[in-house]
Amino acid sequence: MTDQIRNRIRAIIAEQAMLEPDQITDDATPQDLGIDSLGLVESIFAIEEEFDISIPFNANEPEKSDFDISNMGTIMAAVERLVAQKAA
């Protein structure tokens, strides 16, 4: 289940970054992958659509939102939490 979620997220980010999914490593930051602020907002939208979840993210204060975008690992963990909350 968890691996499946992570693979789907990797596929979304890879498409956005024009990379291969296996290049989306947990420690990669959006900046490392060449994803700018607009690309990040677009990726978050695509993840919301994929999992039918709502992600709390304000581009003005990314550090304050519950959705940690520090790197791909934190993003995937946050999505897993939101998917679990939705299922609960």
């Binding site: 700018d36 602020s37 607009l38 907002v41 304000n58 581009a59 003005n60 204060e61 304050k64």
Partner: protein, 413 residues
């Protein structure tokens, strides 16, 4: 500074403002709006329209109370989208103050250029709902003439018989400044004697706000320009319209002159569709000073674009600091958007009122909602309370999505 003579040595005409009108969340006219600026009153509150419960952003600066029936008859309401209604009301106030009659020759030498970003967005929204959500297969015959972006400019031209240049400018959040700048250039060059100009926006409807939500740059609680804890923009609605008149014409008829328009410049970042560039903004500011014949130290006040987003406010402060050098620490710069919201294509027009108030009344409108100093916005942002100060020249900044910048310079007369 330019000479006080009625005609400049370069053959260009001097341009003055002889009328002003507005409707926005702070008031239905200029005196009420300026009083709100003096008091630092906030026009932002809970949004009220259909399906607002489906929005994640539920605040805005709406015009309250608003009943189109109070101002327009049934046939007019069928033809006028809200953005046209706002523009017409503001234009009527401006023309009444100027005391101009456009019948005859003057009408042939006068025109109108207005800014709007969304045009008749409420009309789009209502009619998409009709055909998509309600499944109806018929819409009112006036949908197209009601929603088109030039509807407001056209109705203003018809209302007053303005038979010269008339068109609409759409440069997102800089629309009004671009419109007013072009109007200024037309009067200055002698291409028109009088231009009605400014802008109008009515985007506060379900579809309008839903679209903005997508970018994730809107605040859910307040607009706090330049404050370290700012968390985004808050949308407003309304219009501002001004009478830009050839100085000689205004002087000869003994018109009351509110301010002189002395310079305008525009630039394009040519860089990013949403992220602003300090260099692009700085080029527009510097070129506007040059066009006005002003030295940086002549400017006492800048009405900032000041959206309250993380990106705009620090970029704008960097641009001002660079353009003005040491004088940046002495001038005042405030954003009135925390009071009337971001009126998008109409915002520069409503904000020009703060510039006129500074020059004419010696009162600087404050940046309200200011709570925490941000080292990246280290200018005198006139926090929270209006200030009395005599200023001789002012700028109004507008930096739009798409990287399109437009800066206007006014001078006391």
């Amino acid at each position: 500074m330019t000479s006080k003579n009625s005609e400049r040595q370069d053959g260009l005409r001097r341009v003055v403002i002889t009328g002003a009108g507005t409707i926005n969340a702070l008031g239905h006219d200029v005196p009420t709006t300026m009083e709100a600026f003096r008091q630092g009153r906030c026009g932002i509150g809970p949004l009220e329209f259909r399906d607002v419960d489906r929005l994640s952003i539920q605040i805005g600066a709406q015009v309250h109370p608003w009943k189109a029936e109070d101002y327009f008859n049934r046939q007019q309401i069928l033809l006028y989208d809200k953005f046209t209604q706002f523009a017409l009301l503001a234009a009527k106030q401006a023309v009444a103050q100027a005391g101009l009659d456009f019948q005859g020759a003057l009408g042939l030498r006068s025109g109108v250029v207005l800014g709007t970003a969304g045009g008749g967005l409420n009309t789009w929204d209502e009619n998409y709902r009709t055909v998509y959500e309600e499944g109806k297969n018929r819409v009112h015959p006036f949908v197209v003439p009601k929603l088109m972006n030039n509807a407001a400019a056209s109705h203003v031209s018809m209302e007053f018989g303005l038979r010269g240049p008339a068109f609409t400018v759409a440069t997102a959040c800089a629309s009004s400044n671009h419109a007013m700048g072009l109007a200024f250039q037309m009067v200055r060059s002698g291409g028109a004697q009088v231009m009605l100009t400014g802008g109008s926006e009515a985007m506060l409807c379900f579809g309008g706000v839903k679209a903005w939500e997508g970018l994730r740059v809107m605040s859910k609680d307040a607009c706090r320009p330049f404050s370290a804890n700012r968390n985004g923009m808050v949308q407003g609605e309304g219009a501002g319209v001004f009478v830009f008149e050839d100085y000689e014409h205004a002087h000869a008829r003994g018109a009351d002159i509110l301010a002189e328009v002395v310079g305008f410049a525009m630039s394009s970042d040519a860089q990013d569709i949403v992220m602003p560039s300090a260099q692009g903004a700085e080029r527009a500011i510097t070129a506007a000073l040059h066009d006005a014949g002003l030295n940086p130290e002549d400017v006492g006040y800048i009405n900032a674009h000041g959206t309250g987003t993380a990106a705009n406010d620090k970029t704008e402060c960097a641009a001002v600091a660079h353009a003005f050098g040491h004088h940046a620490d002495r001038l005042m710069i405030s954003s009135t958007k925390a009071m009337h919201g971001h009126i998008i294509g109409g915002t520069g027009a409503v904000e020009l009122l703060a510039c006129i108030m500074a020059l004419r009344d010696g009162v600087i409108a404050p940046t309200i909602g200011y709570q925490e100093a941000d080292p990246e916005c280290g200018l005198d942002v006139v926090p929270n309370e209006a200030r009395e100060a005599r200023v001789d020249a002012v700028l109004s900044n507008a930096f739009a999505f798409g990287g399109l910048n437009a800066v206007i310079a006014l001078r006391r007369i």
